[in-house]
Symmetry: D2
Subunit: 336 residues, 4 copies
């Protein structure tokens, strides 16, 4: 941590700050300039509070030089983390597509979709049983019943399932779920993240709509510091002024995350764009950018979808997409 | 709801859409143009899904013309809602300042702050017992113990207390809390909002960092549709590219909310700016813009604050602020 | 400037960087840590290129600790700059309202508006002769003829005039204009800013829609470093995800700018909100935040305005606004 | 255009609006509802002012249903536009890389870079002679001398050249330049766009940092409506809250633009990210998303670059990139 202060070491206010930091067992290196002095704080500064330091009257600016996350940090763990579920690997050169309907609507719907998702070559079935909706009057999901249908589809197809948790109190229902999804709106629901640190199954953590890459990694750190190392990160678009697309897919987040962390990184082009006709282009660009997987929304009858139909591919669209996805992934491996 | 479609009423695809909507008991008015046709949907369209409609192949654009929130809507409830707690009113011409430390740190700290907050003329004591922090390594609050200290300070000063809930499972601890705060990061924690709909005390709902005004009102609607009408809205800054301030206070949200809803609207200049030296200017501007109250961070010893010290006023600063706040509020009343 | 590098002073790559900076006549202070070394660069670093430094392989991060603007910097010029035009002062405790139509439409229109703008107590008449419009098919302004009408209205009322320059080649037409406005879209039209540095009249510089406060000050610096010290800054809203208002008025920019610079700061609530019904609240909040003036759009017949009618006040609305504006300004002076 | 109004056709205020629109030679279709009436305006509404309509007291909302650009619109011109310069084609299945230094620094530098850019297989040499810099104290480019050096490099290598225009008054110096670049900061410098409509050479139009896709297309329309149909669009990142990268590359803009317009679309991963280590991933993702070309910054000695060194690839990095770029482009063609 670097702190720029007014005055030099003899200055009473500067001295007060130095003693405060040293009292917390950090070493402070003092570098005096003409008008300003630079303090370098040595030690594990992750727990040192930038805001508290800012309040000292001598302080001009404070800047961290070390990332505040540890377990998620690639510097602490050089090799890629590979998450394995039901024999399927993701990360470290392994690629997976997780596909299915935004909302689980009926047993028949999930069964039909699971069948063609499997035929298309996806590794996981995903579907929403609990649905986060902006409006209390919109369809909120089939809940426990929805999870039942997903589990039946899993039995039928052998595809492991991914579904979203909206409340810690629902955790018992997720016992047989393979990957628990944390939605964008709950990325900083810290109480939930802490609970997921105690769970023994992988967590798919979606980036919040206005969260920085660093905040995403800190949320992963909440889960990991609780004891659960199997976190898959998902870029799903951030909120900007552009409103042609629902969110703006931050494609740069893929190589940035691959550099900063060892965790697998996947991309959700369906939610990012909110438009089915853009999904293929964005899915392919995500692979080219280095993503370890994709989250794709598909529906056997998009116009009847109870939510988010606009962004869903139908069966044919999904099959066409998968063909290109698989070819491009193989090609990108050859390019390295 | 207005839907623009390709083709006219005889067109098979247009016809399919019209029948689908009518099957849901809405009336569809058809207005044929040369190339496009405009459908007007009449009825309570709050529950009608824009995304589902978008998937119909004939559809070009869909636009709501009615706000999707009802109980929060001023059109349904013309007079200002006045929330009253412990004899203190907020909204409908009544102004309140809620002040205190970001984090409760000790019994002595809360007692000292509560004393001068009361002397300054604030109506409520606020302080964080459960703290939402980006990093798992940062101080997470004193939790139950913190609520104890707040309740003791309430007994001492008579000030009702406001504190943040981070998990539904902590609700029993909030039994004697006067106003439950929902933080910006939980504004769309819908499971929590639903629970708060069943609670019999006012909720202070802070706007999410990237939430629109409409989404804030829909989150209020979650609480209200559950049966709890006492919601106080709080503008606390949104996330933008400008990084001189921590967030960008969206001052326009004040008059916009006062127009769209009957609920009280308060402003948090401390979190919005993240800088104590800006709090006074922003607090005064909020009053001039029509806010019903302020949320102010203050600390008896800002440089020791365990979090967010940079934005805290000290005792003298708070007293100076309150003097101006009270004078300006009185003046603005005379201006109407 | 603080540079964090990998390795210590003896490291070849660190050494190379130090010599490169010293060759440019700066002093480098070296502060060695365990893994990283911190370099403090002493001297006038405004011209030192952060990006060039970033390319050195040893560099981890670079951070300026001095603002890169000088003439606009309050540290270099403590007292407020007061701009005086036609006996009217702005800045340093002097407040002015500049009002008029978005577009000059006819001689009669400008005359009528100028009359009531003066009656309302505004100090300046503003109106657009050259209009920046997103679409080439929208009305582009009356150009030279529009300036003529403004000058006639000036003769009639004595109000100095403010109007926007869109091309350096039009400068000769601005000979009798009192204040030249640079619009948000041209805030970083550096060729134009340089020309305005040579002009002997005040420049009203509007903040770009996605410009930081620092970039606004650097654009002012372009004008000032060319020899023209009379720059008035204008906050007019920034672009964010919120789309209820046209832009998001960054009210914090007012106290921030007043702290960083000695230049006068005014606010344009009409363009910021794009909604006439919000202008009053935002104008009053700007005064409470410390603004030195306002830019208000008004039109004798808003529904016929050739552009931007939605945000214009009519004569009665303007008169009502001015009454409150003047009272609040007087009150705020008493509050200090 | 669809207008939602309060009241029905007989309402005086509604009637006044209808007559105002009809007086401009548009047809108005009236669709009466219970509380609200929907007006459909038929005709070429590009020139009809949404803001003027909003001012009518009866109006609730107005929405365009036709894009406001014509010549740039794919609906008016189905086949891809192919821009051809010096035998090199871009668009319509033809791909080009434009590469070179951010700033032209010396004759030797440009010659050296041009040589290896050509060897790498780029089709164009780009380099900045006039440099838009936020600070007046930063290096502003070699100007006329820089263009000389570029022209010498063109003679030497046969590569056509691309360079940025910052002021219409410099146009005579661009006589032998092959493609004129309009920078992001000048995307809405409408006076310049109009002049470029009269020029007989292609224009490379970069998207403004806070411009929507629609505004970019309207700026292209300014050039095209002036008579110059050869516009190449460039996505170069937009401004968001995320600050790990300099801008956020809006990768979705590529497929969106390819759908809305027939003009060629290229991507600038160097400026978007501001980090050399991200350029490869972003360049490849742009190709996978459907871009017609790339703008790549490269420098023979990045750490001496007078500006933007941080984002420049060196000779080896550029060669490696080009190899992958060419392979991926060939592969993507085979995928269609």
């Amino acid at each position: 941590m670097v702190i720029v202060v007014k005055g030099n070491r003899q200055d009473k206010r500067v001295n007060e700050l130095i003693r405060w930091i040293e009292a917390k067992d950090f070493t402070v290196q003092v570098n005096e300039g003409v008008q300003k002095t630079i303090l370098g704080v040595v030690g594990d500064t992750a727990a040192l509070d930038i805001d508290a330091i800012s309040t000292f009257p001598a302080v001009e600016t404070v800047k961290r030089i070390q990332e505040p996350y540890k377990k998620a940090n690639r510097q602490m763990h050089e090799e890629d983390t590979v998450v394995e579920v039901g024999g399927r690997k993701i990360g470290g050169g392994h690629f997976q597509v997780m596909a299915g309907p935004c909302s689980v609507e009926s047993k028949e719907q999930v069964a039909a979709i699971a069948d063609y998702v499997k035929r298309g070559g996806a590794g996981f079935l995903r579907g929403g049983a609990f649905k986060p909706r902006s409006s209390p009057y919109a369809f909120q999901g089939l809940k426990a019943e929805g999870i039942e249908y997903l589990l039946e589809a899993k039995k039928r197809t052998g595809l492991p399932i991914v579904t979203e948790l909206m409340s810690v109190s629902d955790l018992p229902l997720f016992d047989k779920v393979d990957i628990i999804q944390v939605g964008a709106r709950n990325m900083q629901n810290f109480a939930m993240l802490k609970e997921l640190g105690k769970v023994k199954k992988p967590v798919l953590l979606k980036r919040g709509m206005s969260s920085t890459v660093e905040e995403l990694l800190l949320s992963a750190e909440y889960i990991m510091s609780g004891g659960n190392d199997e976190v898959i990160l998902c870029e799903r678009g951030i909120r900007t002024f552009e409103n042609y697309t629902r969110s703006t897919l931050d494609i740069s987040a893929v190589p940035v995350l691959k550099k900063l962390t060892h965790l697998p990184v996947i991309v959700d082009p369906s939610h990012a764009s909110g438009r089915a006709e853009l999904v293929e282009s964005l899915a392919l660009s995500a692979i080219a950018a280095g993503a370890d997987g994709l989250l794709i929304e598909t529906h056997n009858n998009p116009r009847c979808a109870l939510c988010d139909g606009a962004q869903s591919l139908d069966e044919q669209g999904f099959a066409r997409l998968m063909e290109k996805v698989n070819k491009l992934w193989a090609f990108m491996k050859s390019l390295k």
